[in-house]
Amino acid sequence: MKNILLRITGFLCLFLISSPQLFAKSMKETRSFNYYFQQDTTKRDTTKKVPVAKPADSVKVPVNPLGGASPVPSAPPKDGPATAPANAAGQKTITGVVLDEKKIGLPGVGIKIQGKTGGSVTQENGRFSITVTAPTDVLVFSYIGYQSRSVPAGNGAAPLTINLVPSASQKLDEVVVVGYGTLKAKEVTSAIATVDTSQFRQSGSRNPLDLLQGKVAGLQITRTGGSNPNSGVGIQLRGVTSVTGSQSPLIVIDGIPGGNLDLLQQDDIASFSVLKDGSGAAIYGTRANAGVILVTTKKGKAGPARFDYSGYLRKEYLYQRPDFLTVDEFREKIRSGQFDRQDYGASLDPFDDLVNHGNLSQNHNLSMSGGSEKTSYRASINYRDLQGFAKNNRRTEYGIRLNLNSKGLDDKLFTQVNLSTNFNKGDLLGGGGWENQLTRNPTQSYYNPDGSWFFDPNATNEIARLEQETNKRQQQTSSIDAKAEYEIFKGFKASVFGAVQRNSYVDGSYRSVFGEYSLENDIYKNGGYAARSTVLEQNFNVEPTLQYATTFGEDHSLTAIGGYSYRYEVNEGFNAGNLGFLNDQFQENNLNAGNQLAAGKAFLGSFKNDNTLIAFFGRVNYTFKNRYYLQAILRREGSSRFGANNKWANFPAVSAGWTVTEEKFMENVKWVNNLKVRLGYGETGNSGISNYASLVTLGTGGVYLYPDGQYRETYGPNSNPNPDLRWEKKQEINLGLDFTLFSSRLSGSLDLFKRVTKDLLDSYDSPQPPFVRSSIYTNVGSISAKGIELALSYKAVDGKDFKYNIDLAASTTSNKLDSYSNSEYRRDYLSTAPIGGFGDLGNSIRIYEGGKIGDFWGKRFAGFTGDGKWLFFNRNGQPIRNDQINNSFFRDQTDLAVIGNAIPKYYLSLTNSFNYKQFDLRLFLRGKFDYQILNTTALSYGNKVSGTNLLNSAFDKYAQINDTYMYSDYYIENGSFLKIDEVTFGYTFKLKSKNIRNLRAYITGQNLATFTKYTGNDPDFVKDTGLGQPADDGVLGVDGRGPYPSTSSFLLGVTFGF
């Protein structure tokens, strides 16, 4: 394993560090590939291109990577004419062959003599002959879709071999979604990554963003919930940009900002566009600090009715579980006297008792599309049943998506309607409890001797809980959007876009009369508990825009868009619960049947809050000579969330691009097919804070006794007001390079960025006195990040039957807390990432001003005393006992130090795609490197001070500890890992049937192997995003003690169209 790991990492590192060597090396390797995988001519449509060479021929010589003249073949083609003699004075007939990028003869290539009349075209096999008057004549070869080449005719002594390379322009003309419109790829001047269906992950997404994991350099998608179907993903682009504001990119689905991901099914998504830098994202103003992900769904196309089905079945198996003592080992340890525990006689595998071994998930999507040039449609229906690896952990959903496009009024009017809805049902009861089960005494039955459930007030009987409680969600999410666009005169269009999105759910939970809660609760013993809650979230958008596109002169083209945006968002909810149900008949369906309504311990709550966002925005794109591009954006936006004095702000951006390869001086640099430099600057904001954060809000303070003996509610202010509260502002500069090299075999982009977020929104201590409350929500401090992102795509082999593509996404970011103070408010450090567990170990991360985000701050382990007590180093490097450690807040006194960093320095993923005839194989590797994780499982359960079941390592690796839990670098481990994340093997059938257009079946394995030195749980599940605030999805750098198990899944899928 280690060897493989070394080799793979070595390969990856090579990729990263040494581009010139890399290219040369790869070219050498491909030479042999080309040799062995020559084309099979018999299956080729011979009217277009015919291979000219056989394996033994000299044509196998590859393109000279340095762009010089191609080596001349040593032997002439057997069936070609020999070197032509001169048939007139000065006149020579030059012969040769034109080859395409696959070394196949190109027919129909036009040949001109520069500055002279006369010409020729190549024949079927790419051969040509042309008569020139002087060896200095320059022959110009041109062919649509290929870059022209000019070659001196020479004296005709040997046939010429002309290699034409495809012009990159085809790809460059592809449309990129940029927000409020599209641009051609060549016009893009900001850092935008596009991922389309062909690149999506194929292991069956639980969340649509799963499709993107590892596909975009700089975009981190972390699944701390593993394969739990009810868990979300953590997303972060280019590092942390905020302390308390929104950390996740803005999701825009078909133009609806803040689009609900539940509405997206993987088979309905056409592409993702990730606006990475401020110069592109500024068009989304206040919500763009963390980046923007634009999702485009599939649309109807003109043509006969098409039906497409895709579906899969998936099953999950355990990949890895924490190494706790099995019941046999537990007994053995008791017997041998190593472990002073009770043997209660039962033999359980408590972990396994939570596992849903029968799990089988499935997804089915059927879409219909078609229409005429004037009207087209696409509709899809989706059914998905995700069964978790845990019991009572499931999500079932049905959805529909509809798209309708019409043109009218001489094609000047274009309308589009999208409708989407999703109904889902979630079983939220299970999925947790792993830590309880792993640590419980495996000899203790779940039952008492009399057959009743065994309950312990200090631990939940997880098995009983699954039987005696329910917790379900029923949800419906819908969106409707419509757009009408009218071309008032050529190039000038006016359009209106409107969207409504609505998300609602009803939760219900019940705990049986006989359950543990019933016995242990404080309010009413031996009675059932029931609760219900509902939430309704709605948002409304209206966006009228005007668009103008024109060209003037030969060299200038201009497009401009201006618009207004109004968005209103309102959330409301209601919850109620009761206790003391005397039987389980009604569950949560008749809350009145409990007995605490009259007794006063039933509960009831409701809420409503809203916000409005209004913006004016514009974007101008100017192109000069098809090689200089300029883009300017301005958005002026106001949000109700901010203070009265700072509701509005401007977000400008400007960026430029230069296609270097369009310049004259690049004409002869043959190995560069396309090269573009981009430079952009943009300002964006963050308004992802709670509604009303700038206002004094009234809260309740609990009931209080009045003189008449009655208890009544009290009210008071529960926040300090801040009329100056404003946006967090991010300024970002991005330098990018897009390139296509070596006959378009290698393409990619490199981006360098530097960003600073100022006026960080956070709750700061307010001086007390004179203020009433200890904190105020305000803008102080700044966070910065700089980084490099590299995306490469390399066609290692591009034969007719065999293709091998390598795609690489890599990024590195340095993220710092520059300051956390201003003249009024001061903090020296940010303390975060609570360790949790017993013994209240406090926070694991402390970032002093100027320090790196994710810095672990703690004691440095120095060994153990003879009797197993901890020793740590003081600041002078002397080992001392724990109680002598100086943990002062002052850095010149403290013994604590930075002991690691929780944020991977390098993210890398590599997709290897192989195609052989109808077979396809894709191997996806993903890794995070150079960072640390706090192994809390070892900290808590690798120490015999705990009387629970323990890790095996408590008796070997950690056997000498005879002291309480301590946080120090002893448990900070290298988290680097490389994962064989996904392997897909597919077969595309060739069917003669007229009815079936295409059919592909595939099998995908996910999470097949992880190579790491980390000894805790799956390092991939440890949160690597955010600052470390505790959240539902974990804490930065702190491994969970009982995370959702790491599973490998196997998926069998099929897609066919008819």
Partner: protein
Amino acid sequence: MAWPTKGRHGEDGGKWKRLHYHTWTVDEGGINSAWSLMYWGVGLCNVPIENLEKRDAAQLGITQQEKDAFLAELKLFRAYHYLKLMDLFGNIPVVTVVGEPARPSTLSRTEVFNFIEKEIKDNIDKAPKLSKAMLGRMSQAGGYAMLVELYLNAQAWTGTARWDDCIAAADKLITNQAGGMNGNMALDPNITDQFKPDNDLSKETIFSVAYEFQRANFQPGFPSDFYHFNQQFIYGGSRNGNDGIVVIPDNFTKYKDADLRKRTWLLEGKMTRFDNGQPLIATGGNEYDGKQLEFVDNIRKNKTGSTVSNMSEGEENSGVRFNKYKLGNQVANATTQPSTVYNNTDWNIYRLTWIYFAKAEALMRKNGGTATAEAVQLINDCKVRAFATADWPANQYTVASLTLDELLVERGREFIFEGFRRDDLIRFGKFATGSWWDHQPTNANRQLYPIPQQQIALNSNLKQNPGY
């Protein structure tokens, strides 16, 4: 009391050890929390005082007298917060208007003392007398209790003794001139009425936090700090704790066996279940998992036979436990029905017994440290409740036996868990010089807590206390 590390529990970043060893730091979170909490209280008084003062009584629908009474009550309550802040931090800023000044300066402890004294004296007569309707609220009785505290500690706090003022203020309460919670203010006849779930019926309550779970869902906060993980089975309720604060070794034995307080207020030995009298088996994966829970009067790892006793070496059952305030029982047993007032227990801030002790001490100090007959009578009036009639003669104090040192020990027995020990030790000059269990003498500057570094960072007009 202390919160030692017990096995895997209670290390808590070493904060309990620093508290116990008096090695706390200037940025100790708990110290800042205390500051922040009390000044929050000050702010919550300042807001309505400002509000009420600028409004006309008639507008509010109350009489001028009622308005004055509300204001007086609020000012007394504000003075209470300043009293506690001055006790902990000594030199502090005094602010009576929200937001002004923006960065208030430190006043000396004597200036703060004078402010508090004046506020109380100016307002006490306008405030309502104590009555059942004033449960949980500040009253004239509370005001006099504050004066007693202020004067009893005046010498320690300002250098000027105020024993006569202390006696005069105490007499207002002892002679029932400031009202009573349940009829005339008087000592309760036993050692349980003050601490039972319906202790709002106690006759000696002066000022309390009026918890009321049954009607107001407002429950006492102490279980989390004092209770064992399985405590609910001991008293037949539902609330457990973090197995935190315990009595440090050798205090349990300071109570004689005949002293009813020993077994009524403390838990020691093998524990049994309330509901069926069976042994209480510990659960939860700690040292004594699966065995009968037994609290011991030592803090060491008995399980491994260790004799090392310090703050780091506790285990699950270390230390005698708190059982002074009772929550009542939720479940029935053979002799007792479930309590209808379960979990309603109020927390006394001042009770009359404490006033008796304060007056007795003032009399003794005025008398050169020797007891007077009146002082002995005051203490005996309290102590007699803790003994059976037959045991009393052997345990009552005389002028000879009630020395100041003995008074300090008796205060420890009577007021254990009630939050006065730090002041007592400072007043008796033992806080910085004394040793107890594994605690060694520290520096005199530790008699004040540091002004939290977190606050100094925000307000440069604050001055750090000496020695920090």
